[in-house]
């Protein structure tokens, strides 16, 4: 009898998993159900070059490959419930889909500021294509833009908005922008580079309220300062899109806990055969670093996790070679990059784990490579330029230097 795989979330993780299933030899039904109205597209340009130019689906869409031509896509259709015993998922219009294999690929959504006067226009986030289209229209020359949150995405939007001629202030409770992944030395350097481009920072500060009756006119900080503003971009962190799994016994304490085969794990610690997690939502241990399960919100993870799940799920459904595949270790190298002005920041590993940080090559203010060490062992590298040094260090991180 033919088998069915249902993938919830029609973005990068869902797409790459569908491709990997086909590449592994799975020829039966694959249905991908997503709540957005668009076919899968690439998110990183939405805060970078595409935001600076024209935001269209065509500019960011992933190319459809031959092997997934017969996948059934259902767009604009949020999944609202799942029943792991009956092996079904249900969409908001009441349609029920039965599965033999389920892939959880529903990702994250931005967390919003919780403020008393929140009901004003001019508030934006940047996660989806529709978000970016709305934000792009607001980033007119001279617009006063406040970016809440100075992580990578916030800083990218700040840089892009400066390039479009906006006045930009970034507000964050941290000491420096991007300090959590990068550490204070590098983060202070990046702050200085942003300031050279005219971005103002309000650090160690939170947002207390918004001003405006109808349209946003200002952002009130928790120390009483009022920043005049036409546009607020909220890039403060994310929520996991796991509400549709609330009626299951999966461990949803942060994303979805997964084992090394990326099978979802229940609150009792049991792996569920045939139910897998990919992308930003997957919380798994990576033996390259340690045995602590973590989510990794980097762009290469949907692809890495999708490629892991494809063969395992195919083996489960076909009954051939499953145990051997499950037993294999899963050791993806987290890799990320960020474009801000002409700066190309590239990193590998998990710099946030470091207890010691040192410059390996180059110097503050110029091209440089930073090493991140835990207990004397390299756990991450981040650089601006100096690609060949970074590539060598990446090999060292992989353990095959």
């Amino acid at each position: 009898m033919s088998k069915s795989v249902v993938i919830v979330g029609a973005s990068m993780g869902g797409l790459r998993t569908a491709e990997a299933l086909r590449n592994a030899g799975f020829t039966d039904n694959i249905a991908v159900i997503g709540d957005e109205s668009h076919a899968p597209y690439n998110r990183p340009p939405l805060s970078k070059e595409v935001l600076a130019k024209e935001v269209t689906h065509e500019a960011v869409a992933f190319k459809q490959r031959q092997q997934t031509a017969d996948v059934v896509w259902k767009f604009g259709s949020p999944v609202v419930d799942a029943n792991l015993d009956a092996k079904t998922v249900t969409t908001d219009d009441g349609e029920t889909f039965s599965y033999d294999g389920l892939v959880i690929a529903s990702g994250l959504r931005p967390r919003r500021l919780d403020v008393p006067n929140g009901n004003v226009t001019g508030r934006h986030t940047v996660r989806s294509l529709d978000d970016a289209i709305g934000l792009r229209a607001a980033l007119v020359p001279g617009a006063r833009v406040v970016v809440a949150g100075a992580g990578f995405i916030g800083c990218e939007v700040a840089a892009t908005a400066r390039g479009l001629g906006c006045e930009v202030t970034a507000v964050a409770i941290d000491e420096y922008p991007m300090v959590r992944p990068l550490g204070p030395t590098f983060a202070a350097d990046l702050q200085a580079r942003h300031e050279t481009h005219g971005v103002q920072f309000r650090l160690r500060r939170g947002i207390a309220d918004l001003e405006g009756d109808g349209a946003l006119t200002g952002v009130l900080l928790d120390d009483g300062e009022l920043l005049p503003a036409d546009v607020l971009v909220e890039a403060i962190s994310s929520h996991c899109n796991t509400e549709w799994l609330n009626n299951t016994n999966l461990d949803l304490s942060n994303g979805v806990l997964a084992d090394r085969a990326l099978r979802a794990v229940t609150v009792d610690g049991n792996s569920v055969d045939g139910v897998h997690v990919v992308g930003d939502l997957a919380r798994f241990a990576n033996p390259l670093f340690d045995d602590v399960a973590r989510r990794i919100e980097h762009w290469n993870i949907p692809t890495e996790t999708g490629k892991r799940v494809g063969p395992v799920l195919n083996a489960y459904l076909s009954g051939e070679g499953y145990d051997e595949l499950v037993a294999q270790p899963f050791t993806p190298m987290p890799s990320f990059w960020s474009d801000q002005y002409d700066l190309k920041i590239q990193g590998f590993g998990m710099p946030a784990l470091a207890d010691e940080i040192a410059i390996i090559e180059g110097s503050i203010g110029g091209e440089l490579v930073m090493g991140y060490y835990r207990g004397g062992k390299l756990v991450g590298v981040v650089g601006i330029g100096l690609t060949s040094t970074l590539m060598k260090l990446r090999k060292e991180l992989m353990g095959d230097a």
Binding site: E19, P44, F62, S335, D339, Q346, M391
Partner: protein
């Protein structure tokens, strides 16, 4: 025969593609990308992997 094209307007020379298909993509001594424009059909999987890891989505496989 597969035809490979890299949009050099988009490519930022990150070199991720090099790990997936070193016979096709390499960074030269100036850390700039160089690639061969055609490959045997048997190289499809690795080239698709290179496409998958390219942060700028600069690589196109014409088939």
């Amino acid at each position: 025969m597969l035809k490979i094209y890299v949009d050099m307007e988009k490519c930022q020379h990150y070199g991720q593609c090099v790990f997936e298909a070193p016979d096709i993509f390499k960074l030269n001594d100036d850390d700039k990308l160089e690639y061969v424009a055609t490959a045997d059909d048997s190289r499809r999987t690795d080239i698709e992997s290179a496409i998958d890891v390219c942060p700028m989505q600069a690589i196109v496989l014409q088939d």
